[in-house]
Symmetry: C2
Subunit: 225 residues, 2 copies
Amino acid sequence: MNEVTIRPIAHIESDFPEKFGIPRQAGIVEELRAKVVFEEPFRNPEALRGIEGFSHLWLIWQFSENVRADFSPTVRPPRLGGNTRLGVFATRSPFRPNALGLSCVRLLGLEKTREKGTVLLVAGADLMDGTPIFDIKPYLPYADCRPEATGGFAPDAPEKLKVVFPAAALETIPPDKRAALRGVLENDPRPRYHSDPERLYAMSFAGLTVRFRVKDGTLRVESVE
Amino acid sequence: MNEVTIRPIAHIESDFPEKFGIPRQAGIVEELRAKVVFEEPFRNPEALRGIEGFSHLWLIWQFSENVRADFSPTVRPPRLGGNTRLGVFATRSPFRPNALGLSCVRLLGLEKTREKGTVLLVAGADLMDGTPIFDIKPYLPYADCRPEATGGFAPDAPEKLKVVFPAAALETIPPDKRAALRGVLENDPRPRYHSDPERLYAMSFAGLTVRFRVKDGTLRVESVE
């Protein structure tokens, strides 16, 4: 087998400093905002010429926190409760050979910056802050959108939780981050095999620490700092 | 920039021994059949458990014929006639950093073989025979199918040619390859900047050499050997 060396063309700047809380697929929380920042020598606006014509982009990236040398042929998807084993190639699990991730994000626009050159503003990304990106491709509806496709054990987006914020907590959150945080919480950041209604979780998001409990389908925010 | 080493988990067995004639996106010629053959240690049917539940798969692979050390920020997509330059990240051109390809194929089934273990039978692949594959992921309709997406300079599949076979040529082609070959020819294998009606092209497909000319929107097969 011929090994291949690839190198990041860019990295993402997102509101997730750690894995906990990141939506399990791209596009689930459309309100999330992130920036794609190019590395040299790829920091060249010419390489983006025409990209504004596309509403969506593919990012190919690395689950940089999940790189493992050993190969486990099966994984336990959270969608199945975390106890059922499926083949790794039948899932989007991060624990996979080469640890490559694939995400469809919406392109909001380009921003010229002094320090980082032209960056891409994207919505719906499910990448941890700093994640290396190896390729960016336009989403081609005629090739990539397959309405006839059937989705195995994950035919639809997961069910959402009801989210309750105390008024004081809500005010702590910058207005432009509120909808995204709500979206993240609605999608249940907990590991799927957790069901302790007393357990207090802490999630880092956009410089905030958000503490919450989940009981009977309702996520109650306890504090935001 | 941190380089990353990845290694093939599989390779494809397709009817294209060379680049010429390969459809420019996956799924355009649905009649094409190919096999995904796993490398050791990934040749383990456990790694595929549950994959039959998905109708479509993503392949992440390498344009192994197009690996280049230098970086060109722009390319000339055949869809624009081959003369207009666009940014490489606004196209699906093979001439891109890391030379990674992304293809959505239909999963037809699994086949247990004595020599190659369990292989995947897929339809619509746009990969050259022997292409190394780095990852296989299920297509998740709720995350990957974006009917609202707009497609920039390539909103639809390219227009098709009319294809004419002489009766004798048609009989030379194995019956199970005819529809696929017709599909490949309909999608105009020529480089887009070619328009010489006298020029005789030769394409290798499924062990055959197919010679043809194109004039006024009609592709006429001259011989099949």
